[in-house]
């Protein structure tokens, strides 16, 4: 947020004069005033579509004439039942999810799924394969070590997680119950462009798609489990979406907490206990928005365009700006880069914030700069960042 990096004086100026401020007051489109707009490049929670926020605001106090807020309603009542059913059916449309898969709306973030996946797919003595491509797959692996025998079949650590292996170069474990990947690493900015196939028939592919979920079409039929925290591309924090092949249900370890047992959740349509109703409601508005945008093929085009503009600017900078990620696996969602003159990075981030481009600081563990450009980041935001990058470079020959 701007406020995290600005003095109260410049803050007042920024908020009063920023298009974002006026946009939020009168919903003028941001692009029209992009020179004055606050653009939030946070890695998540992140920007939500304007129209979703306006609709949520208009309905918050009196939900569609009911005289109640959606937050006050029974999760087993008629209104919320319609909300969660529409959320599921719109998500099924967006990703062409067949009925072979259950769609669950859960709590606890991807970190809870790091435990739930081995607890549901393995017994303690079973093995599972992990491809380690960055900070999040490291965390998933560490958690799995409590519940099964995970093998790291490839790690990018020695190359500082700047590439992803070619799948034929890695031998898989014969009896692995699943093969786990992180579809997109928010910290290092590497993203799978295609997916490995588990070697043995009894194994399934499992993916943490928290940071690229619904940013592009995905062939769900290749997967056993896909899980994603909503707070990057499809909603606020507080809801985690799990897509699981129904054939995998019902094999949880006896020590699996019931809330982490996919079958208990699937059998009750995610209502084993009270779900995060408001967060699910916001996701339902975002899914509707994504369908209106033309679905995930259209979103993928927009996301490729945005990322292309930014990576091109980096590559054309004569190494003033440096992307360390192998081009073939550069993330379309999180674009980390450094300045060759690293002493300028702090100044770059501060000046960008003063221009209304906020949350550009790279993750503490790697430093540098990071621009997260999820579904709801408009092209205008990326174009403004690129213009600033060129200007900053010109001022620092």
């Amino acid at each position: 947020m701007a406020t995290a990096t600005l003095s109260s004086t410049s803050l007042t100026y920024l908020h009063f004069h920023s298009t974002s401020f006026w946009r939020r007051r009168f919903s003028i489109s941001c692009a029209a005033y992009s020179d004055r707009c606050i653009y939030n490049f946070a890695a998540g929670p992140a920007t939500l579509p304007e129209s979703v926020l306006l609709k949520a605001q208009s309905e918050l106090y009196n939900y569609r004439g009911s005289g109640m807020s959606i937050m006050e309603m029974s999760h087993r009542g008629k209104e919320f039942d319609a909300v969660i059913k529409k959320a599921e059916s719109d998500l099924r449309s967006l990703l062409s999810i067949s009925d072979d898969f259950a769609v669950l709306f859960l709590q606890g973030g991807a970190t809870t799924q790091f435990s739930a996946v081995p607890l549901n797919l393995c017994m303690p003595e079973d093995s599972a394969d992990y491809i380690v491509t960055g900070s999040w797959s490291v965390r998933a692996l560490k958690e799995a070590q409590k519940f099964c025998k995970p093998n790291v079949i490839w790690s990018g650590k020695s190359e500082k997680y700047t590439r992803i292996c070619s799948f034929d170069e890695i031998p898989q474990t014969l009896d692995a119950k699943y093969l786990h990947i992180c579809g997109n690493e928010t910290v290092q900015g590497v993203e799978f462009k295609d997916y490995p196939n588990p070697m043995n028939k009894s194994s399934v592919l499992v993916a943490d798609m928290s940071s690229n979920f619904c940013s592009k079409p995905v062939d769900i039929s290749k997967f056993g489990v896909i899980y994603a925290g909503a707070q990057k591309n499809v909603g606020p924090s507080g809801v985690t979406i799990v897509i699981i092949r129904r054939a995998l249900l019902g094999h949880a370890q006896p020590i699996a907490p019931v809330m982490l047992d996919y079958k208990a959740q699937a059998d009750t349509d995610s209502l084993y206990n009270t779900p995060p109703c408001f967060a699910i409601y916001i996701c339902s508005l975002v899914f509707e928005y994504l369908l209106h945008q033309g679905g995930l093929v259209a979103m993928a085009k927009k996301n490729e365009k945005k990322a292309g503009v930014l990576y091109d600017a980096i590559d054309a900078s004569g190494e003033f700006y440096v992307s360390h990620v192998e081009k073939s696996v550069r993330s379309l969602m999180n674009v980390p880069f450094t300045l060759q003159k690293s002493e300028l990075e702090k100044k770059f981030i501060e000046e960008a914030a003063k221009e209304g481009m906020v949350q550009l600081k790279g993750h503490l563990s790697v430093g540098g700069v990071r621009a997260s450009i999820y579904n709801a980041m408009p092209l205008a935001g990326v174009e403004k960042l690129v213009a600033f990058m060129k200007d900053f470079q010109a001022r620092h020959p």
Copy 2:
């Protein structure tokens, strides 16, 4: 909700003419027009304070001049940091929570805590004592059986959960690690009015307070752990509050999923991963509201008054309406009752809904009628229900 029980015709009438409708449009106080008001007696998610909903609506699109929604902001940024810190400090004020206790804002509901409590306080071979007073303590017990050796030291089952034992009548297990109770049973309507002390010094008292949390003052120092889903008295669904004695942190079982490890959450001030930011924000508004109401002493008086009016009406009905719960432990939050002429119950619930008093159906497992009257239910709502009960009785001699 009204809509769950009304025809679309009567619904239109009800919404158009209900004070709730106008209240939601022009924020006229409900009491002023209580004859036309929708009152939501749902067991949870439940009614929220008007002023909280209005403030949340006004801030949803542009949070306090930031140009962003609170839903879009980094959970590690300046604004959300202020929200969660204020939520914690206001809750500490409301309940006089000393620094010997950590306050956590988690996900997964009380059902997740049914697992987390034994996973954090016991090893698998350890024993724990459970007092079973209704549906929720049965569920807590069942889940604990996965993770330790729980003993049922008293159960109200044979008396259909209509009373709570006197504590000197029950022998406790010598080496129990904790004594678990459910402070209020939403289904059966029994509530602890005082609390047992664990027999041995090494044991602690643990309470599920989901349905009476912040409805009255509580001496926190008597407890080792208190947990509560927010969606009854203090917020929307999607956030679970845990108050735990710091001395108990750091002893989780090796198989505890990291998100269920209280120490991991306490060490990171509930930010081990992305928390349910919006739900925590709503809780912070409710805590502020409760402080403005005069704190929990004032809320307890209001809640006693509301419950008194309703139980008096039941007791004065000459057994037309029957409360089955022993008077000394009647819940101030959930008031279940039956009609002596049980064939009239369906009619009673339907007519009440037509009068704008909704969600009065008893839990499926017990039937009958249930009025949930949490913090945000105004006295006017209870008075309207009582007037209806008298009228209904008069019409069915």
